[in-house]
């Protein structure tokens, strides 16, 4: 096929598909055909581009023009103006919210300009369903080097020297893990990929699998060579159907190309990969639970030691790495440990992918060099907080993590630095919360999640998290009593000390970190029966400030239960006995007259 004049890299990630990229794709294809441009212009459906909030997004190559929020009706305009006449369609370009400036090319948009694309170097640049395009961008070169030129101990040394640490959250050195497994004696060993991305607010692994599945396979093959394994499994959560589909296709293609299966690249090395779908249990992200689940049992963790490097899946030595960790491996082998270690801080090397979400302008997926500050990530890349509201806290690491308040925003992205301020690097979920978020309610939310997902094997986690939730429910429900906060602290300490696995040991973190930085909010709930963020319905009493009221009647129209009386030219009045604290009037008022 002749090279196309223009390549349209249309995002087909989950986010953009839900915003209608499939419909736009069909309309665009139709229009291109109508104009007879089929041989000149090629549409390529890529994996997640990262800028999910603006979806569907499309990058026009080689020009680098970036279009956003595309709808099927835009197709004729795009083809006519841009693809035929060469004039980019201004109204579909990106507008910087702060300066109102239109930025036509992707590389100049601040969201992308401050990032460093290593793990995500292929995202949006290749067709994830084409192995040839992956190979064309140096794909499988690292694997070829590892298989043909390197001995297993050299591979392990390279990964150790690079300083790569587990991207799933705990940050254990990847090379060291491999070394343990390589030394374990057994004729059968396994390489496992943890794609059971369970933390709410984290979608990095899904995006990597959707955008660049071969990078994960390449990492697994290299790991297999390093520890001498012959079988691999990818444990992927069932909520990610597109990722599973693309992985299946990638495995099939890799087998056809002789990159998986028997006698890979004629080196005599055998390794194959199967996908194992999870069935919806958060605890299966824990390594021993994940292995139990592959064995077809209830996914419950077991005490360690023995560690999986010695006794893992089916009691055989196993290495389990996270998706993002594995996606780094190919490039480390190809470019060398020194290259990788040149970016980052003393103890944290390379880049980290984060999923920005919550109250932030640029929701999406970002990859930043280690060592960048949280402030840079939230303001320079994330574009700050919408609706002119104030930043309150950023939550890192999901249910096992913690909140970081304003005064620590200059903390750098580094495993130890983040731990020092009471959060964890975690898998990469970053949820930004503005002043309207109640931190007690947030702690309650995470505890609700944890107690639901606790597998029930050990008592501190099963019973303790439930008691924590009860106390938090009581406080949010306006029934907090003196002593409750102390109980939370004591119970948290016990759960942390005595739980069996990582889930329980980190379960009290959301409570502890909010208590550490936002104790005044807990005190207001318990002693003053007041929710400062106006979130806990049971603690709210609404009234209209007659001085601020513009007598517009918007609140009157918004009230679903008729609790507001209002007449033209008269300020509104709320009947407390009818009010259901639904916040409708509070949201509807444009003048801040309802408090």
């Amino acid at each position: 096929m002749a090279t196309a004049r223009l390549q349209l890299m249309l995002c087909g990630g989950t986010g953009c598909q839900a915003s209608g990229s499939r419909e736009f794709h069909a309309a665009l294809e139709e229009e291109i055909k109508k104009q007879g441009l089929k041989d000149e212009i090629k549409i390529i459906e890529t994996g997640c581009n990262g800028f999910c909030a603006l979806g569907p997004v499309m990058l026009v190559q080689p020009e680098g023009i970036f279009y956003q929020q595309l709808k099927p009706e835009h197709a004729p305009l795009l083809v006519e103006e841009h693809f035929l006449k060469g004039r980019p369609v201004e109204k579909l370009l990106y507008v910087e919210p702060a300066s109102k400036e239109t930025i036509p090319t992707m590389n100049e948009i601040p969201f992308f300009a401050h990032q460093k694309f290593w793990v995500m170097k292929n995202k949006g640049a290749i067709d994830p369903e084409s192995i040839d395009e992956y190979i064309a961008r140096d794909g499988y070169f690292g694997m070829a080097k590892a298989l043909t030129e390197m001995r297993p101990e050299e591979i392990i040394q390279e990964v150790r020297d690079s300083g790569l640490r587990g991207r799933g959250g705990a940050g254990f050195p990847a090379g060291l893990k491999w070394q343990f497994a390589s030394k374990a004696e057994s004729d059968i060993k396994y390489v496992l990929c943890n794609a059971d991305e369970g933390d709410p607010g984290a979608f990095m692994d899904r995006s990597i699998l959707e955008a660049d599945p071969h990078a994960v396979l390449e990492g697994m093959i290299i790991a297999a060579k390093a520890i001498n394994a012959s079988q691999g499994y990818i444990y992927c959560r069932t909520e990610y159907p597109l990722a599973i589909e693309r992985l299946n296709l990638a495995i099939k293609k890799a087998r056809e190309y002789g990159l998986l299966g028997e006698d890979i690249l004629d080196t005599g090395f055998n390794f194959d990969i199967d996908i194992y779908q999870g069935a919806g249990a958060f605890v299966c992200g824990e390594e021993t639970a994940l292995m139990r689940s592959i064995e077809g049992k209830r996914g419950m963790p077991r005490p360690r030691p023995p560690f999986p490097a010695n006794k893992g899946l089916w009691e055989r030595p196993s290495v389990l790495n996270n998706v993002e960790t594995l996606a780094n491996i190919g490039q480390i082998i190809l470019n060398g440990a020194e290259w990788f270690a040149s970016v980052g801080t003393e103890s944290s090397k390379g880049t980290k992918v984060f999923a920005l979400s919550g109250d932030i302008n640029n929701i999406g997926l970002v990859e930043v060099p280690m060592g960048i500050t949280l402030r840079q990530m939230i303001y320079d890349i994330g574009g700050g907080i919408p609706k002119k509201r104030k930043f309150k806290a950023v939550q890192l690491g999901g249910p096992s993590g913690g909140c970081v308040p304003e005064q620590y925003l200059d903390t750098s992205v580094d495993y130890e630095e983040i731990a020092r301020v009471g959060a964890i690097m975690g898998s990469g979920g970053v949820i930004i919360m503005d002043e309207k978020t109640c931190m007690v309610d947030m702690a309650r939310f995470f505890m609700d999640f944890i107690q639901d997902e606790s597998c029930g094997k050990c008592v501190p986690c099963r019973e303790g998290t439930r008691r924590l939730l009860e106390i938090l429910n009581k406080i949010c429900g306006g029934e907090g009593e003196p002593g409750d906060i102390e109980d939370l602290e004591e119970l948290s300490a016990v759960i942390k000390e005595s739980s069996l696995c990582g889930l329980g040991q980190t379960a009290p973190n959301p409570v502890l970190s909010t208590l550490r930085y936002f104790k005044d909010e807990y005190l207001a709930h318990v002693y003053e029966k007041r929710c400062p963020a106006k979130k806990c319905a049971a603690l709210l009493k609404f009234w209209v400030d007659p001085d601020k009221c513009k007598k517009c009647g918007l609140c009157y129209k918004a009230c679903p239960v008729g609790a507001i009386s209002w007449q033209k030219k008269e300020p509104a009045y709320i009947d407390q006995s009818k009010c259901i604290q639904c916040l409708s009037c509070y949201e509807a008022c444009r003048f801040g007259a309802i408090e």
Partner: protein, 161 residues
Amino acid sequence: MAKLEHPDITSDMIPRIDEVINTHKDTAGAVIPVLRECQDIVGYLPVELIDYISIGLNLPKSDVLGVATFYSLFSLTPKGRHIVRVCLGTACYVKGGKEIMNRIRKTYGLDEGETSEDRRFTLEAVRCLGACGLAPVMVVGQDTHGGVTPDRVINILEQYE
């Protein structure tokens, strides 16, 4: 082989169930895929079906039931024609997922995990669908709806019969 009789399992389903069991019979750890595929055929997992699977895979019934009750994917009760999954992950929660959930509950008189009597909807809460960019998110069957508001949610649901 044992006999499988249940009002929700029609005669054309049985050969398909048998095929699933036979394909996986000799693989270790096959319970989860078998349960998944059988649930896809029947819609849920009646206890009679779990018995049948345990005999087919030659496993204690307690093992199969234990797995079926551990994972949230499996349901031992019938599901509605449309499964409504409201995301209550952190990002959606911050953006008002709880209000969406409350509106659905009130409108259809359904609680989390319940199915309406006409088997039209099953309401479920999920913990993050990984589409945080579109928060708050609701998935009906295979369709993802992003940026849902309490006012819009009922209009969306009314399109599903």
